[in-house]
């Protein structure tokens, strides 16, 4: 693992980032005779505040300061609906910066050195080169609990067809989305630059008449993933301020909590009533938001059991959320997501 901290000596003198000394970004003491002395005052992540990168890349750092990857605002937005005003204040002061936001991505986390996750530090991406992309060492680490292993098939189901066709994260999630834009977004579903299936898969250009008619019949009633998610994805239960979370596979269909006119894939999110109890937050408005959120499982397949037969949904009602399945002591808002499709004649 120490090899991950080896700097490629050939970069010195060639790469423009090495024109100045190491300490110009990392501080510390270049002449320190021991490791402790050399690392005194060391700044391990100089791009954390972006002042370092801003000197030359202000066209990127400026919008990135409000990008969701940097602010982690989506995490705050997702839970804030459960707080009273006072609880929100406590959360902002005592929990968000220390816990949630510790994950925010700096420039270096994507372009120089892999982020540290759960104490695991895989080090420099390529000998301290400043790389454009290396999804397997960057996206895969922060998003390795759910999205990435579902995408590659490591979670246990079939891999996403896009992965099998050689596509990887940044092929859909382009830099316009990741680096941020002039607009300030509260959560990822708001982001204008986010990927949409229809960017590449145009409605009306389907190869078969069956696909065309299915899409026309379910237009604005179903999300794409309802039919094209390949199978079970990870659902997270019982998180208590970073501890105790349990992941279980599941495939859940129900009403979209953000748009109750459509059916979509739902994923259990780990917040429970006493998640923030150690911080003195009881979540007085816990029942305002459900425990199931609309999700975009990254395990897309063209053909699934739902595309092969209408009966799977309409008669068997397979995987649809029912009252019996709801979490015990879960939010009362969960009941509003239950949906039973209309039967059709066989």
């Amino acid at each position: 693992m120490y090899k991950a901290f080896l700097v490629d000596r050939s970069l010195i003198g060639k790469d423009i980032h090495f024109e100045e000394s190491c300490s110009s970004c990392h501080k510390g003491n270049e002449k320190g005779p021991t490791r402790a002395a050399a690392h005194k005052g060391l700044v391990a992540r100089p791009s954390k505040s972006m002042e370092t990168c801003e000197k030359c890349h202000d066209n990127i750092t400026k919008p990135f300061k409000t990008a969701l990857h940097y602010t982690s605002e989506g995490q705050r937005h997702g839970v804030s609906g459960r707080f009273s005003q006072n609880e929100q204040k406590v959360f902002n002061e005592k929990v968000f910066e220390q816990s949630c936001r510790s994950c925010h991505a700096s420039c270096g986390d994507c372009h120089v050195k892999a982020p540290v996750i759960g104490g695991v530090n895989t080090g420099l991406l390529k000998g301290h080169r400043f790389v454009k992309r290396d999804e397997g060492k960057t996206c895969a680490l922060c998003h390795g609990g759910r999205v990435y292993p579902e995408f590659t098939g490591e979670y246990g189901g079939a891999a996403d067809i896009h992965y099998q066709k050689g596509m990887i994260c940044v092929d859909c999630h382009k830099k316009g989305e990741l680096h941020g834009a002039a607009a300030v977004y509260k959560f990822r579903k708001e982001v204008e630059e986010r990927p949409r299936c229809t960017n590449c898969h145009k409605v009306g250009e389907e190869k078969t008449e069956l696909a065309k008619s299915s899409h026309a019949q379910h237009k604005e009633k179903l999300s794409c993933y309802t039919c094209h998610s390949g199978g079970a994805y990870r659902n997270c239960y019982d998180c208590h301020l970073g501890k105790g979370a349990a992941g279980k596979p599941g495939f859940i269909l129900g009403l979209n909590p953000r748009d109750k006119k459509t059916v979509t894939t739902l994923r259990v999110i780990p917040a429970v009533r006493d998640t923030f109890k150690p911080a003195g937050i009881a979540m007085e408005q816990f029942d305002r938001l459900p425990n199931y959120w609309d999700t975009t499982p990254h395990n897309i397949r063209k053909r699934t059991e739902r595309t092969r037969s209408c009966e799977v949904c309409h008669n068997e009602k397979k995987n649809f959320l029912t009252k019996d399945m709801l979490l015990k002591n879960g939010s009362k808002a969960n009941e509003g997501l239950v949906y039973a499709p209309k039967p059709i004649k066989k």
């Binding site: 700097v7 190491c22 320190g32 490791r35 390795g144």
Partner: protein, 87 residues
């Protein structure tokens, strides 16, 4: 360093008694300006090159972080917290 050595060799060849191009005392006197110029040039090269040659060796960042052997000796495996996970 190579330039210095080659300069030294050139100068020593001039005074080497066993050299094919042996100089007698009068030849050294005749070629004194060449000898002096060569010495000054060699000294100039050493003074000009020495700081940059030494500076890269002084920086401990580069010394340690470009050496497989040194990093291996300094590395301590971290304690892994298995309770934390991300989406």
């Amino acid at each position: 360093m190579d330039v210095l050595l080659s300069s030294c060799r050139s100068i020593s060849a001039l005074v080497d008694k066993d050299s094919a191009l042996r100089y007698k005392k009068q030849d050294i006197v005749k070629n004194k300006p060449v000898f002096v110029t060569a010495t000054i040039l060699a000294l100039f090269l050493v003074i000009a090159c020495l700081p940059s040659a030494l500076s890269s060796e002084i920086t401990t960042c580069v010394q340690c972080h470009t050496s497989d052997r040194i990093l291996k000796s300094l590395y301590k495996p971290p304690q892994v917290d298995t309770s934390e996970g991300e989406g």
